[in-house]
């Protein structure tokens, strides 16, 4: 009975989570030009999409910025979390955390405008570089927030034990701390990716000289109503990320099983 309820609840939540996405993708096959009234099946919008080399370049740019910025932000953010965790004074930590969160709460428009002023003051040309820098900047706080709780849970006794066993700082970091906090690092990376893919306002302000990302393109096209080519694109990207997530999970499962088997053999 309880099992049933659990399942039903989750099914409803997932239906709601995916309803708009299914809706978007369904209309990518509609013969019409808008998301009203379904007009019968067609691949037309996908054909337009794949022959639109400007659009494809923008997709590549978007993914490039997202992956690269998340990677760098994860690195800096993890180091930052290690630093914050090390602080002993409560006041210092609280103020560091508050500063850390400023970018998460400031509306995108303010962030974008102030970054724009900042970049032009420093004479950093607007384009790929400035977009990448700003994405790294607004992704770092979420990484810190995802990593920090894991660090807190790491018991001091564990570290002491490792040190007593003669571990150097580097060994401690690479063999004890990092493996323990890696779920937090992954979560941080994924959230960073999410923030990057979702951002419009900041990118809009700091981009220039021909560089564009998907969300900026979508926002400027939305003026004329959403084009179904964009739906087709969401369909492709969604399928792609689904495969990515599925593939990643599968690889993880396989490698874990192998590890377990090995361990089994040793004992």
């Amino acid at each position: 009975m309880k099992q049933k309820f659990t399942q039903l609840y989750l099914i409803v939540v997932f239906i709601i989570l995916y309803a708009p996405i299914v809706f978007l993708i369904a209309y990518s096959f509609s013969q019409g030009d808008t998301m009203t009234n379904y007009h019968g099946f067609t691949w037309r919008h996908y054909q337009t999409l794949f022959s639109d080399s400007r659009m494809l370049a923008i997709v590549a740019n978007t993914l490039l910025v997202a992956l690269l910025s998340s990677l760098i932000a994860t690195l800096i953010g993890t180091l930052g979390a290690l630093g914050i965790n090390r602080t002993t004074k409560r006041v210092t930590r609280e103020s560091l955390l508050t500063l850390n969160n400023v970018l998460m709460v400031s509306p995108d428009v303010i962030i974008g405008a102030s970054f724009l002023i900042f970049f032009t003051m420093l004479k950093i040309p607007l384009g790929f570089g400035s977009v990448l820098l700003s994405h790294i900047a607004f992704e770092i706080p979420i990484v810190v927030l995802m990593v920090l709780p894991r660090l807190r849970e790491m018991s001091a006794s564990m570290l002491d034990a490792a040190q007593d066993l003669g571990a150097t700082t580097r060994q401690l970091l690479s063999q004890v701390i990092i493996p323990f906090i890696s779920p937090g690092i992954f979560a941080g990376f994924f959230m960073a990716l999410t923030y990057s893919l979702d951002d419009f306002a900041v990118t809009f302000f700091v981009t220039g000289n021909g560089f564009s990302t998907l969300s900026v393109e979508i926002y400027s096209r939305a003026r004329q109503g959403i084009n179904l080519e964009i739906n087709a694109l969401s369909g492709v990207m969604f399928l792609f990320s689904l495969l990515l997530v599925g593939g990643y999970y599968w690889i993880q499962q396989v490698s874990q099983k192998r590890k377990q088997r090995k361990r089994g053999a040793i004992s």
């Binding site: 630093g83 400023v102 995802m146 849970e153 979508i218 969401s234």
Partner: protein, 274 residues
């Protein structure tokens, strides 16, 4: 930990410190600086007096806080059971990824999809007609605004709660059961208190951004609700009154600090930071 503090580990902290200085402290300073200037670039306190003296802005603030509270409440009510049930599943990490996946589709596109679903001839109304209630005005109501905002925020609440559940030591639960506690008692006395840091983290991740929602207030809410985020957006992009926009920004940053302190961990050890 002590050995770590000593040696050259502070080197690791440099990139983060640099980021704090360049991309946090500098912009915040800029915003505070700008909030003291009027349209004619004269130094003034008028922006603050306008904000705190005008009924319009005070009402807007109350509205924003109220709607952010509602959104956070609904998000929490939906997310906690979801995270809890998800956590019992076999391939829970995979399911968690599936919860995050919808956030990778652009928010504007999702909003447009909701418009399609909620419109007069949309799916929701077709369903209502089918079950005999007849078409209703769904778009541009407070309910639809809260629904869509909640939808957008759910993954950001599920994630920290899920992580908190993940960190829960199963020994506590077993101990509680062994001591004869019922499922409900175990949940209320053991599981929930221990996952509270995750809930707090979720509240922070949802409440604060909800204060500054914009886009959705117009697209789904038809500007029936005007939040602080909408006002900032307008001051920066439409009226070009950056001083007033920055002033509201400063108010938001202060609001964040208040929320952080209220939901921050009382004990210095353990728990999620935000």
């Amino acid at each position: 930990m002590i050995a770590l503090t000593k040696r050259k580990t502070w080197l690791y902290f440099i990139p983060y410190g640099l980021w704090l200085a360049l991309f946090v402290i500098a912009p915040v300073a800029l915003i505070i600086y700008q909030s003291f200037f009027d349209l004619g670039h004269h130094f003034t306190l008028a922006n603050y007096s306008t904000y705190f003296a005008s009924a319009t802005y005070l009402k807007m603030t109350v509205n924003s806080v109220w709607y952010a509270l509602l959104i956070t409440l609904f998000t929490g009510l939906i997310s906690y059971p979801t995270a809890y049930f998800l956590h019992q599943l076999k391939h829970r990490q995979f399911w968690l990824l599936l919860v995050i996946l919808p956030t990778w589709i652009n928010i504007l596109l999702k909003a447009y999809a909701f418009i399609g679903i909620f419109s007069q001839a949309g799916l929701a109304n077709q369903f209502l007609t089918f079950i005999g209630i007849g078409p209703q005005q769904i778009l541009f109501t407070n309910a639809s605004f809260i629904f869509v905002a909640t939808y957008i925020q759910i993954p950001f609440m599920i994630l920290p709660i899920f992580n908190a559940l993940d960190d829960l030591n199963p020994a506590f639960i077993n101990a509680s059961r062994d001591l004869g506690a019922s499922n409900w008692q175990t949940f209320r006395r053991v599981i929930f208190p221990l996952t509270l840091p995750g809930v707090k983290a979720g509240v922070q991740a949802v409440f604060i951004p909800s204060l500054s929602l914009f886009m959705l207030t117009r697209l789904i809410g038809g500007n029936k609700v005007i939040t602080l985020g909408t006002a900032i957006e307008e001051h920066f992009l439409t009226t070009m009154n950056w001083g007033m926009g920055s002033t509201i920004g400063v108010v938001l940053i202060i609001a964040m600090i208040i929320v952080m302190t209220l939901t921050g961990d009382q004990k210095p050890k353990g728990g999620a930071p935000r």
